[in-house]
Symmetry: C2
Subunit: 152 residues, 2 copies
């Protein structure tokens, strides 16, 4: 089947700028991080109206994650005491396609620059897409998660 | 700046299978759609533990969207009576990188096949990534949206 699976090419629409040069170990570390997303100026007009949303979804490329073979099992949240789970059951950055998805607060939009809070992307990460966060579409009221997450 | 923006290559990890051959006009049309996501069998083990989540995030490639130039402004939800907004302030499929992000209910996992409900991807869409839905990370309690969404 792998032979039939297509490849696709992405072109970055912008770049993340912040003070974070290395990925920290814990995801909750990022909550207060403020970043600038600098969008290709030729796409500035495509941001119009985004400032009416309090939150946006950022898809970005985790460019510093080692490429090549990825482990099929990982310890959730990097915690060695937790039994390994499949990588698609975890949010570890090391994935077949290292695409990150973050929902972040939009603090300000100024021309082609978005100022956001809580983006877990290091400085220089290529941005793939920006989408408005739609509560009725992007959130789930009754989602169930495994015990190892509920307990953390 | 566009010259400095990198390109990246994705390799599909699987394919969407369902009865939907053409994208319907309305997004809410998809709510009851059941799809199978057939994952590359070499990645089956990477799905272990996913069945403990009620909902998953699917990143997929909207392969039937016209490639090439995209309009910078669109009518939200395809409704001509609404004033155009920037494409990044809308969820229209025609984007510089046609990557869709859907949060869907996981009905069943059987080996390398995920049965899901509510995925707004047509038959044959390449799948880029599967992530567990984490309420504390993926949802926002107090998100604000513009009037044209609140009123719909």
């Amino acid at each position: 089947m792998a032979d039939e699976l297509p490849t696709m090419t992405l072109k970055a629409i912008g770049i993340v700028r912040n003070e974070v040069k290395e990925r920290p170990a814990r995801r909750d570390w990022w909550a207060e991080t403020v970043s600038e997303i600098v969008i290709d100026p030729s796409l500035t007009e495509a941001l119009d109206g985004l400032e009416e949303f309090s939150h946006i979804i950022v898809l970005y490329w985790m460019h510093r994650v080692a490429s090549g073979e990825v482990p099929l099992k990982v310890h959730p949240m990097g915690r060695q005491e937790l039994p390994p789970v499949g990588l698609f059951a975890a949010r570890a950055p090391n994935r077949p396609n290292p695409v990150g998805k973050a929902t972040v607060r939009l603090l300000q939009r100024q021309g082609n620059i978005l100022r956001v809070k809580g983006l877990d992307a290091i400085d220089g990460s290529p941005v793939i897409d920006i989408k408005p966060y739609l509560p009725g579409y992007d959130s789930v009221a009754d989602a169930k998660v495994p015990q190892w997450i509920a307990n953390r």
